[in-house]
Amino acid sequence: MGWGFVLPALILLLAMNLFPLIFNIYLSFTNADLSGGLVKSVGARNYTVLFGDARYANALSTTALFVVASVSIELVLGFALALALRDRVPGKPVILTVLLIPMMLCPVVLSLFWNLILNANYGVLNQFLGFAHLPQPQWLTDDDLKLVSILLVDVWMWTPFMMLISLAGLNAIPKYIYEAAEIDRASRFMVFRTITLPMCAPLLGLAVLLRATDALKQFDLVMAITGPNDASTQTLSTRIYQVVFRDYKVGLGSAYGVVILVAVIAVATIFVRYIDGLNKRQGKAEA
């Protein structure tokens, strides 16, 4: 009986997700081309090319670097902001809502606009820096800074996400624990280290996992700010775009897809175990 309710959604999901993945595996063993033509099997050649390609390793490390950097910066900033906002602040609901807007906006559209702000020739950021007699770096063309520019936009967009979850974590700490600590005359730092942080840790962990899985998919920002073929910012997704839509190599692109799929399954498993652990802990706490 329950199957009747559940089946329509499951069928659609299977058709649009499972079938493509299986097809992906098949395609990765062929020499399929974007412009059509005869599809021939080439054995495991796509995989040997993939793993031997320096650009694959580069994309992997760039993606990893991006994920680690963006998530950690967002975590620190978001948590700091949540600490500042946890108690009574005049106009708090308004401030919170306004702060949460950037993460709901369209990444591509915003990055296009950030190009205008970061432009080395007439961008307002560099003009402001010049006005303050600070150096005016070339955000969008300097090799070392391109990834920083992308990080900048990503941090701007997603710090509110970390702040939101941190606030939830902070607000969940019951007041009586702090009162007990005050009676014991614990220093502010001690309180932070032994009460605040550990009690927030589970939710912060969840936030980190959620953000990390999103950051792994990073495509929009890179496309809009540097384009897909830039060695210093090419993440895995943009590498696939380059391979499939610029080099027209569908077979190789599918091989990349399969490799990423394996990584994603690993991450998803960690995620679900973590949520399970969270739920169990919540269950125990309430018991």
């Binding site: 974007l34 059509g36 969008l140 090799d143 384009g227 073929n229």
Partner: protein, 453 residues
């Protein structure tokens, strides 16, 4: 309570609603322009249409204007669909993957000929072209680069549509200003005039480079999205004695990484010192901005962009052809040819041929050159005085036609371009020395060419 009806009805509701909504949307969409192969006989006098895909720029507007005349003549609706340069190539080749393409004619870049020919995407025009188009009257370089594959084989897969080359626009008012002239003469002991050699150009760029006042000497085309940086660098590479390699032996080492080539890249890098900030990553369209906002003295770009400049900055702007290095003078070739898609109905292919034949007639060509950005391959028109005087940039263009040079047009040209854009880009960004960038690039090119054999 029967289990099945609930299950069945919920599935039906779910799928049915989505499909119904979708079907409604399909009807709302504009009808696809290609005619169904079997339908015409049954359908009542359906209006014929011809779809042409080109890049988004002024010549495409001109083509649409001109094509409307053909349309009236033949009661056909001709639609020119424009796609920005950065995604033009990708969209075309992705569309070719379908069983029937949305376009009948694609005005493809010269480098695409190899891919289009070998993958059976372009209709072979070898037998038809000489009879329908005045081939003898075309400029030889235009025919060679825009229509032939392999180059020089007299096998045709396109008919020249638009010729183009890279040239320079400059601030005539700044060059003519007496104060500037005096200062230049004082500093360099020569007259401030349109540069004849690359060194002259460099001197002038240096003179006008005043970053404190937000003034810059020159703007180069260095975008990485498509072939911008490749074309920008190509003419300097050849002028200094380097080359992309030998087309017959597919050897690249020795040509692309020679001492001359390294000198060329270093020189190109040196010119960037006098470019506006961010000047190492300017695409064709982006490069216009620092010139139009009155901060740069000279701009390198394709002639097809110059009509708009001449209009926007009338009286302030002049044009000149590529300078030389010693006796070598080259301009990167532009220009596209009409190629007919093999993935449309035969009746459409015939219609496309009719259009191309009409377009290539001398009368139509005379009208074509009057459209902003419309450049012809017709040699007679190019030589005529009337053409040279018709606009401020035509004389420089006619001169450039004789010194054109193109990139590889082999089927794997897209990988060659991507590798070139990346390596040269890294050299310009200061990440590698010119020597390293070019040696690595030469090795990469040979690998790509060999893998494609």
């Amino acid at each position: 309570m029967a289990k099945k009806p609930v299950a069945a009805s919920s599935i039906l509701v779910g799928i049915g609603s989505v499909l119904a909504l979708g079907a409604g949307c399909q009807k709302q969409q504009a009808a696809a322009p290609e005619s169904a192969p079997a339908a015409p006989a049954a359908a009542p006098a359906a209006a014929k249409s011809l779809t042409i895909w080109w890049a988004q720029w002024a010549p495409a507007d001109g083509l649409q204007d001109l094509a409307n005349e053909f349309g009236k003549q033949e009661s056909v609706e001709v639609k020119v669909h424009q796609i920005p340069w950065a995604s033009f190539q990708d969209q075309v080749f992705q569309e070719f993957g379908k069983n029937q393409t949305a376009f009948d004619i694609v005005v493809g870049d010269s480098q695409w000929l190899g891919r289009g020919a070998t993958k059976g995407l372009y209709v072979d025009l070898t037998d038809w072209l000489p009879s329908a188009v005045p081939v003898k009257g075309l400029h030889p370089l235009a025919l060679k680069y825009l229509a032939e594959y392999p180059t020089g084989s007299a096998h045709y897969f396109a008919a020249p549509a638009e010729t183009d080359a890279m040239g320079w626009a400059y601030r005539k008012d700044w060059f003519d200003d007496p104060a500037e002239k005096a200062a230049f003469k004082k500093k360099y002991k020569k007259e401030l005039a349109v540069p004849e050699t690359w060194d002259d150009l460099r001197t002038i760029a240096e003179f006008f480079s005043r970053p404190a006042k937000k003034q810059y000497g020159n703007v180069l085309v260095t975008g990485r999205g498509y072939d911008d940086i490749v074309m920008g660098f190509e003419q300097v590479l050849y002028a200094f004695g380097g080359s992309w390699g030998d087309a017959k032996t597919m050897k690249v080492k020795g040509a692309l990484d020679s001492a001359d080539a390294v000198k060329a890249l270093d020189f190109f890098k040196g010119l960037l010192k006098f470019a506006p900030p961010g000047g190492s990553k300017l695409g064709y369209g982006d490069a216009l901005e620092p010139f139009v906002n009155n901060s740069s003295a000279m701009l390198m770009n394709y002639f097809a962009f110059f009509p708009d400049l001449a209009k926007k900055m009338a009286g302030k702007v002049g044009f000149f052809a590529m300078p030389k290095q010693g006796e070598r003078r080259f301009a990167s070739l532009g220009g596209q040819g009409f190629s007919i898609s093999t993935k449309v109905a035969d009746s459409q292919k015939e219609l496309a041929k009719k259009f191309i034949a009409w377009f290539s007639q001398a009368d139509t060509q005379k009208k074509w050159v009057q459209k902003p950005g419309g450049f012809t391959a017709n040699a007679e028109i190019l030589k005529s005085d009337a053409f040279k005087k018709a606009s401020p940039y035509n004389a420089a263009f006619a001169q450039s036609m004789d010194i054109m040079q193109d990139f590889w047009n082999v089927p794997v040209y897209n990988e060659l371009i991507a590798a070139t854009a990346q390596q040269i880009g890294e050299a310009l960004d200061g990440k590698k020395s010119s020597k390293d960038a070019l040696s690595e690039l030469a090795a990469e090119h040979e690998k790509i060419l060999q893998a494609a054999q």
